[in-house]
Structures are given as structure tokens and as C-alpha cells.
Amino acid sequence: MNEAIPQLLSYDEPSLDAAFATLAEEVRSEADSMRDAEAFRLRWLGRKQGRLKLISEAWLKSGPTDARKPLGIRFNQLKQQIEEVLTSVSLRIQKVLEGEERVDITLPGGVRAPGIPHPLLKTMNEIVAVFHHLGYSTALGPQVESDFYNFEALNFPPNHPARDTQDTLVLAGQQAKPSRDRLLMRTHTSPVQIRSMIASAPPIRIVVPGKVHRNDAADATHSPVFHQVEGLCVDTNITFSDLKGTLDHAMKALFGSSVKTRFFPSFFPFTEPSADVQISCIFCSGAGCRKCKQSGWIELLGCGMVDPTVFASVTEARRKLNPADDAYNPAKITGFAFGMGVERIAMVQHGISDIGHFYSGDMRFLEQFA
């Protein structure tokens, strides 16, 4: 290849025409043998060391001032020619490559990992499915709730110490409102019980999966945002036996048929009597280990018979729409409710010791659930 800068001896029109014709010829002949379009472009049109640039600098410097205009016009034309050649060269090279580098159909295909449900969603869906099979339907509610639905209707009176156990996150700028209308982040899925009962008369069988918020510092077992699944069953002749049978079945469905359940007294303002449910430790089968704090039992959920006070709050709200409403008369109907933490159940199911793994987005953790 010719790297030398050609000399231009005369600046009259015929000499210029001849010199540029020589250059154009040089471009075409190089293009025919060129295999690499980018190298070709750099050689001729490169901004600093391109041949066009070097030649135009040399010729413009040595030539008279009045030759600049005809030179400039010709260089522009030459540039256009080079660009046209470059386009055709690229096309030609591409065709050659396609001819030579065919797809090897014997190679294994590229594998893209399929998306999977998050382990929490998976557990939540499993729990919900157990109750769907028992005839429950899903109900949902807002995460920003009013004090009425989250507390007051659930028999947490203002200033009651039971509110302290909920570590509530309240929304700013609510002080001017009446206490029951103040907005907060729901601390449990139980407000959906109230919403559902106000919206429809018994019988009710709902299961409520959802996100809840508490002002808890994050540690191995706490997170300010977590998930619950709530259940509510209201009908005539619902008894504590129904509650025990339902939850015993649900725990066996989730953790295996050898799991034992036991109920013992607890307290929730919206149920009376209330109970906590423990399952026999699935790690040590009840012998006592670190996971169950040596007790042999793992506490998984809370439940109880719906407190008549809750039915009274529901009736009060329903009578604003229909003054004669008596659908939730505690003398005629009873119900049970239960609630469980999805994280807790998922941690027990998979033997996870730190709740933080669920929210870290660490692929090494999440891929284990594929």
C-alpha cells in the first residue's frame, strides 16, 4: 500500500483533475482487496492520521491562497466517493462472512434462566391454596388504613396498651382528623376482616394475603415490612372445634402429616377466647433444639373466636347504610379468625435463619428456590 503523500506540482485545473483521479483510482483498487471495513475507514477517513486528512493538509499548505476553494470542493467530492465505496465494501464483507461462518446447529443452545416466584410468594400461595381447597376465597385490602379499620373496630380502644404491641407507623399530618379517621400503615391484615364483614353478610370464608408494616428495627427475625395471611370464617354454628380442625389440617398440609399442633391461651383484642398455635418442632421432632429454643414446639400463628365487640363495630358501620341491619347479631352467628406470618412459615419450611435473605435480592439465595 502506498503510504507516501503524493506531490502536487501545479495547481491549475487539469493538474488537479488528474491528481484527484489518481487518488480515486487508489481508493477503488484498495477497496477491491480490502477484508476489514473498519481498517479501510481508518486508513482513509481517520480524523488524525487518515490519508485524506494528511494529503489535504499537505496540499493546502503548499498551494497558493486562491487554490483553496477548488481544492476544498474536490476533497469533499473525494470524501463522498470514499464513503460510497466504504458502504459497498462493508456489504461485500458481510456477505463473505455469512458465507463462511454458518450457524453450527450441533452446538447446545443458549440457556436463559426462567423467572421463578419469590420464595415468599411461593409460601404465601401455598398457604392460600390450602384454604382455597377448603372453600375460602381471597380478599384484599389497602396497605394505608384508617385507625378505625386497623384498631378501633378490632377492639383496640384509643390509648389501650395492646396498641403498643403493634409498633405502628402513622402517616404525617393526620392530627387534625378525628382519631378513627387518621391514616396509618396497616400493622396486620385483620382490617380486611372488618372491610369484608361490612361489605357482605354471613356466611363469610375469606383468606387475606398481604403486606403489613411495623416500626421494628430489622434483625434476624424482624423486618419493618413483612407479610401475613389472615383467615376469617363467620356463619351460624361456628365453634372452636371448627377452628382447631381447620388449622390442624392447614398445618399438616403445609408441614407434613406427622406434624402435631397444640393450642394454648393467648390474647388478641379482636378474638375471645384467643389462642396461639404451635406445631411440633420439625427440626428435632419435639426433642428440643436451638431452633425451637429447647421447647420442642414452634409457635406459628394466632387465632381465636371473633369477639362480639367486633361484630358490634361491624353492625354499627353497616347500620349507617341500612338502619335495620342485623346480619352480624352475635346471638345468631359466630366466627373464628386466624393470622400467620408468611416469613416465619417460609423460614421454618426452608430452615432459613435470617429474615433479611428474603429482601436482599441475592441471586445465590433466590436461585435455590428455582
Binding site: F264, P265, S266, F267, K293, Q294
Partner: protein, 227 residues
């Protein structure tokens, strides 16, 4: 809260089961024992309790002992509430409950103790505090916390010489400020009940005592309140 089985058993000496079974039996009656920690030979166990807000009566050692006595149908050792004979004060210390606070403070009892010596706690108080992992402060302060842990009754010791005049239990004035024992300075609302002297609030009633009248190493005379 935490319960020492050693302390608990001093109220019900004849509990016929070991600590592990005791925890199990309490839990099944709704006084949930969440964790059991061995404190070494002769010290029994520490129960980590999770007591629900409907069972405030059981949020202390005597309350849990009462439950245990019921479970095993055993007598509960009565509390020794006898006080040493006191001499009538030369100038009576005045305690009043303001009219607006009558419904919020049903009873206010107090005892003046003079010429006392502030020193570290000894004996059972020191032993139980160490087992419970509570920080001992001084004999006077530890005694009030000992009563709280044992019987569940909030009570407080004031440095008598730092109180102005006498005690008035009243509602706070809007914007009134009080510095509490934890060093925090609080602005009060008119629905907060305070224990005040004749010039300012000296504590949030039933919640926390005030900084200004706290017991120090130099304290000579104290007022013990149980309300």
C-alpha cells in the same frame, strides 16, 4: 419480661415439677414461656416470658407465682409487708391529689426515710439483679425496682431534700417540661398525669421519675412513693 425460677419458687416452695415442666405448664395456661436459660447449679433457670396485655397481673414474679400456685393447687406464701415502726414526723409532709386527677390516681402512699446511707445493694437484691441481668444502681433505687420486679407495682424513690414543699398529683400544663430519669427532656400535654412538687413536675406518674429529684450518692433523706 424475665422471671427467675429461684425467686418464683420462693413464693411457692413446694412446686412438684422441674423448671422445664413448670415452663410447659405455665405456657399451656396462657402465661407463655418463650425461652428457658440455665443459670448454673443452685440458680435455677431464667424464663423469657411473653405475657399478653390482658394479663398485666402476671407481669411480675409474684403474679407468675400466683398462677403456678393455682396450677398445682398449692398455697402462695404471703408477702411480708410489715414496716419497721415509724416515729411521727415533727413537720408533716404534704401529699395532695388535685381534683382533676382524682379519677386517675385512686391512692397515693408514701413514706419518708431520714438519715439513710446510699450504697451498693447487697444480699438477695444484688443476687437476683445479677441473675436477671439488671444493672444495679444503688440500694434505694434497686429496692424500688426489686418491688416492681417482684410484685409488679410501680413505685419510686425521690431525694426528699430536692422536693419543694410537698407532693401534688395533677395533670400537666400544656407545654410544661420535665426532664426524666433517662435524661430525656419531655414536653407534656394536658392529659399527662404528673407527680409534682410545689414548683414543678418531678416525674410522669406510673411511668418514670424525674431527673431533678433523683437519688444520688449524696442523698440523705428520701421519699418512697407507691401509688
Amino acid at each position: 419480661m424475665n422471671i427467675l425460677t429461684k425467686w418464683l419458687r420462693s413464693f411457692v416452695p413446694d412446686i412438684p415439677v422441674d423448671d422445664r415442666q413448670l415452663a410447659e405448664d405455665l405456657t399451656l395456661r396462657g402465661i407463655a414461656v418463650e425461652g428457658i436459660h440455665d443459670l448454673g447449679p443452685g440458680n435455677g433457670h431464667l424464663f423469657e416470658m411473653d405475657i399478653t396485655t390482658n394479663r398485666v397481673d402476671a407481669m411480675n414474679h409474684y403474679g407468675v407465682a400466683r398462677e403456678a400456685a393455682t396450677i398445682y393447687n398449692l398455697p402462695l406464701v404471703p408477702l411480708d409487708t410489715a414496716l419497721p415502726a415509724a416515729s411521727p414526723a415533727s413537720q408533716p409532709f404534704s401529699v395532695q391529689i388535685a381534683p382533676e386527677a382524682q379519677n386517675l390516681c385512686g391512692r397515693f402512699t408514701a413514706q419518708v426515710l431520714r438519715n439513710i446511707t446510699i450504697a451498693p445493694s447487697t444480699g438477695q437484691v444484688a443476687e437476683f439483679f445479677a441473675l436477671l441481668g439488671l444493672k444495679p444502681i444503688s440500694n434505694a433505687v434497686d429496692a424500688t425496682n426489686f418491688v416492681l420486679q417482684g410484685m409488679g407495682h410501680p413505685n419510686h424513690a425521690y431525694d426528699l431534700d430536692k422536693l419543694d414543699g410537698g407532693i401534688i398529683v395533677r395533670l400537666a400544663r400544656k407545654g410544661e417540661r420535665v426532664k426524666l430519669l433517662d435524661g430525656s427532656e419531655r414536653t407534656l400535654e394536658p392529659d399527662d398525669l404528673v407527680v409534682a412538687d410545689h414548683s414543678r413536675a418531678q416525674g410522669l406518674a406510673g411511668v418514670m421519675g424525674g431527673w431533678d429529684s433523683m437519688i444520688t450518692a449524696e442523698t440523705k433523706n428520701i421519699l418512697v412513693e407507691a401509688a
